[in-house]
């Protein structure tokens, strides 16, 4: 299922699963990710699954590119190896103070805000990967009529908890960071829990997300 293994620098394998972004290719990436993780190979220092790539970082004192490449090529993935999938419900408040880009989205999509939000909340989203900053989930896919580009000029600070869309994807800002996604609302739920050492991520690759809408009062209630 891996099409090609290249090197990324001198201490990482770049496993290419294809160039398209879809759940089938991504599920293959995630299967390899879990399988390699389970093997607990000595000298592997990081595994980074994304839409259609898996990057394997290793300790140069233990592996060389060619020796590790051979090991990875010989890994067998059982076809019936089912992904563990959780359905996670996440509350989102779309009060004007939180929906920072709703006007922009209305203009770009030529849809009224209520229609946009109705479409947004009517769908379940698949988690392709987490990262960039700790715990940030990359979710998809948005319906065709909901797709737009990111902001021309990224925000210097996107508030923590912001829920944003761009192209076919949506995400949740787990920390206040710079970013350019179109923000539709904010969740009071903690998506990344630093104090939980064993499983800090609420959402993991392969999970399904159901967003549901809450009022400002409900938001403040949960926040408290």
């Amino acid at each position: 299922m891996i099409k090609n293994i290249l090197n990324l620098g001198d201490a990482a394998l770049y496993c290419d699963f294809g160039s398209d972004v879809n759940q089938e290719i991504n599920s293959n990436v995630i299967k390899y990710f879990y399988q390699i993780k389970k093997l607990n190979l000595k000298g592997i220092t990081n595994l980074t699954p994304s839409y259609n790539k898996l990057i394997i970082s290793y300790d140069l004192n233990i592996h060389s590119f060619l020796s590790l490449k051979k090991k990875i090529e010989n890994i067998e993935i059982k076809e019936n190896n089912k992904l563990e999938k959780n359905l996670i419900k996440i509350p989102v408040c779309c009060d004007n103070n939180f929906a920072l880009d709703i006007k922009r989205v209305e203009n770009k999509l030529k849809l009224k805000s209520e229609i946009i939000l109705e479409k947004f909340f009517s769908k379940n989203y698949f988690c392709y990967m987490t990262g960039f900053v700790a715990g940030m989930p990359f979710l998809g896919d948005l319906n065709q009529e909901m797709r737009l580009k990111r902001l021309e000029t990224p925000r210097v600070k996107v508030p923590k908890g912001s829920v944003g869309i761009t192209e076919q994807f949506c995400n949740i800002y787990t920390f206040e960071t710079p970013g350019g996604w179109n923000i539709l609302g904010n969740t009071p739920q903690n998506i990344f829990d630093t104090s939980n050492q064993s499983n800090p991520n609420l959402v993991n690759p392969g999970d399904t997300i159901k967003f549901y809408r809450i009022t400002l009062d409900q938001y403040n209630e949960i926040k408290r």
Partner: protein, 318 residues
């Protein structure tokens, strides 16, 4: 703990980006947490070797200007690695200290770490152990994600640095070492090398790039000839590793450093080889970088040589 039993430093001036660091945390990229850890691993390793500490003991890292510390407690030794100017202030007077040399501190003495010279990072530690909390097996502070001791924040004035253990059988040691500099930064061509025009590929290796002030533990932004993308200024977001050189939509290189975002969507033109990373991070804003293309096989050999050189330095400590 009774205060008379405590051994600690009080921070009179925090310095710039002063944090605890060790070798960092592994196997967390998939949830968005980078390695972190000491930026310059060789100086980290030399410091713990000089102080006869465990190889992964926490040290204090600082950039450009270090902290000014006052010590309270029983006699202790400290040492600093990197190219650093510092003063030791005791009842007997003020002396200039040398890096890679251990000094005694008595109750009330001070260490004033004035600056790093022609370099960015320096390291401070003691013949003992700082009292730090561990997060995912590491005490490294990642200020961007607020992970690590001190609530994931850099040090501030008046903070007290606890020492939980002192190695009493320690003898003063030193190393004669002037540091290691490098002319060119060696790289391996990246997975998106063919996204760039032939003339830009040539410019990338022939011309020099200036390190801008927008450089920190996350990344190093460069400016120089614009690198022209002829395919697509974005790729589908995918994993990054430290040392990856991405080209932004504006055509400028940005090098991923130890606290980098774990995934990114800019094309990768090249990756800095592991052997040159410690020296890369020590280059100061305003200085120029030239990149040199090497093969993967050469990079693997150069890393082994670099490690042998480090081990050789450790064996020279006396």
């Amino acid at each position: 703990m009774k205060s008379k039993d405590r051994n600690y430093f009080k921070i009179l001036r925090a310095g710039i980006n002063t944090t605890y660091q060790d070798l960092g945390r592994n196997n967390l990229y998939h949830i968005g947490i980078p390695f972190s850890g000491a930026m310059d691993k060789r100086n980290f390793q030399l410091l713990n070797s000089l102080l006869q500490n465990d190889y992964n003991s926490p040290v204090i890292e600082f950039a450009y200007q270090g902290p000014h510390l006052r010590y309270f407690g029983k006699d202790i030794f400290f040492c600093i690695s990197g190219n650093v100017s510092f003063k030791i202030i005791t009842k007997e007077g003020v002396i200039d200290g040398n890096s890679y040399q251990c000094y005694l501190l008595k109750n009330g003495d001070e260490v004033d770490i004035r600056s790093t010279n022609k370099s960015v990072y320096g390291y401070f530690s003691i013949n003992g152990t700082f009292g730090v909390d561990y997060y995912w097996g590491s005490c490294s502070i990642n200020t961007q994600a607020q992970i690590g001791p001190n609530n994931g924040n850099k040090f501030s004035k008046d903070l007290e640095i606890e020492i939980i253990d002192i190695n009493n059988s320690f003898n003063k040691r030193k190393l004669d070492y002037l540091g290691s500099t490098i002319e060119n930064i060696r790289v391996i061509k990246g997975t998106n090398y063919d996204y760039f025009s032939e003339s830009s590929q040539n410019k990338f290796f022939k011309e020099s790039f200036k390190i801008t002030k927008l450089s920190d533990r996350m990344g190093m932004r460069l400016e120089g000839p614009k690198i022209e993308n002829i395919v697509d200024p974005n790729i589908k977001s995918e994993g990054l590793v430290k040392g990856v050189i991405q080209i932004t939509s504006a055509g400028d290189p940005i090098i991923m450093l130890s606290d980098h975002g774990t995934i990114g969507g800019y094309p990768k033109i090249a990756t800095v080889i592991s052997a040159d990373y410690d020296r890369l991070v020590q280059l100061t804003p305003g200085s120029n970088i030239k990149f040199k293309d090497v093969s993967l096989e050469d990079a693997e050999t150069l890393y082994k040589l670099y490690q042998m050189e480090s081990n050789n330095l450790i064996s020279q400590i006396k």
